[in-house]
Point group: C2
Chain length 206, copies 2
């Protein structure tokens, strides 16, 4: 039950950090939400920042490894790889909206330098892996000569933009305020379709 409590605190913390930001979410708030004593946060994670780092380190490695795996795969074509990465980001972001909101905020803020740099470095790795796929496609002449890193920025940026607010997202989806688009399989497909069509016509345009 020890690790259960640890992960429980982390899970509740993700939602609070996403909602209020790192500074905006107080330790007392975190403890109340997780239904534990205030001192438990420091007991398990040392500091508030330690808790944040634990969350990031645990969850961010997954996406990075998956992208690395896709990039290194030798049986997939370049366009198949691009499609897989699009699906990976949409599914990952929509299934863990809180976590990715957290990350987005921290990428904007340069206050906690160590944390910020760690995020940037992982992101740069992902960019490089994506670039290598695109560049190979261009060399093979299956892709047009596109601006690879900016194509990556478009994919991530589009999903991030959707993630920015559920309300805005509802306007996009045209549904009512109580409906949760992140949990809707149809909305997910719609987003994937949009990005794929967009990127395909850009990459494969003659």
């Amino acid at each position: 039950m020890v690790t259960d409590k640890r992960t429980h605190i982390m899970e509740r913390a993700i939602e609070l950090f996403a909602e209020k930001g790192f500074e905006g979410a107080s330790v007392r708030d975190l403890a109340t939400q997780a239904d534990v004593n205030i001192a438990m946060v420091n007991y398990y994670f040392g500091t508030k920042e330690g808790l944040f780092q634990q969350i990031v380190e645990t969850r961010m490695a997954t996406t990075r490894d998956k992208i690395e795996e896709i990039a290194a795969n030798k049986t997939l074509s370049e366009i198949e790889k691009v499609d897989l990465i699009i699906e990976l980001y949409v599914e990952g972001f929509l299934s863990q909206p809180g976590f990715h909101k957290m990350i987005q905020q921290e990428m904007l803020v340069t206050k906690r330098e160590g944390m910020h740099e760690k995020l940037i470095n992982t992101f740069i790795q992902n960019t490089n892996n994506f670039n290598s796929i695109i560049e190979k496609g261009i060399r093979k002449k299956v892709f047009t000569k596109v601006d690879a890193p900016l194509v990556f920025a478009t994919i991530i940026g589009t999903v991030n933009q959707i993630l920015k607010s559920k309300i805005v997202c509802n306007v996009f989806a045209g549904y009512n305020k109580n409906y949760d688009p992140y949990k809707d399989e149809q909305f997910k497909k719609r987003l994937i379709t949009h990005i794929k069509q967009l990127i395909h016509s850009h990459l494969l345009n003659k």
Copy 2:
């Protein structure tokens, strides 16, 4: 000299808010950066949140009005309007990176509900104006049947992604760490070209 001091505080506050977030930037910090007494912030803006709101209200109306103007224009074609909006966002974002970082953070955070809703509403207005352009283009059969609100999300999202960190941006641009891509005219052109090509092949694809 009164308004000068007011705007001076606002200008310095934008940079601090962008760098550290709303909660992360303390009033003492703001006062020190603007080289004024701590009490002056409350004297001019009532509260810290009042300062934030003043900044947002002053600057955000400009973009909204420009988009409305473009959408209402009767001499421009639909594709010309789309191009103008792309240029508007890239130029606006790159010339005022601090302000737009601030906005991005506040759109992610739902703590200050009033502020958040105001941002969302303005954004929804912009989305609707953009949609009406796209829908007209589709009706005229000069555009393919695209997902208009998601196309808008792609444009904004791409620029926002670029804005997320100067370091990441430098990796995109392939330059050294001291170079400031936001001030580089060539990088701006590169970004505009990428988005235009991307959106064009998506909208005009047969």
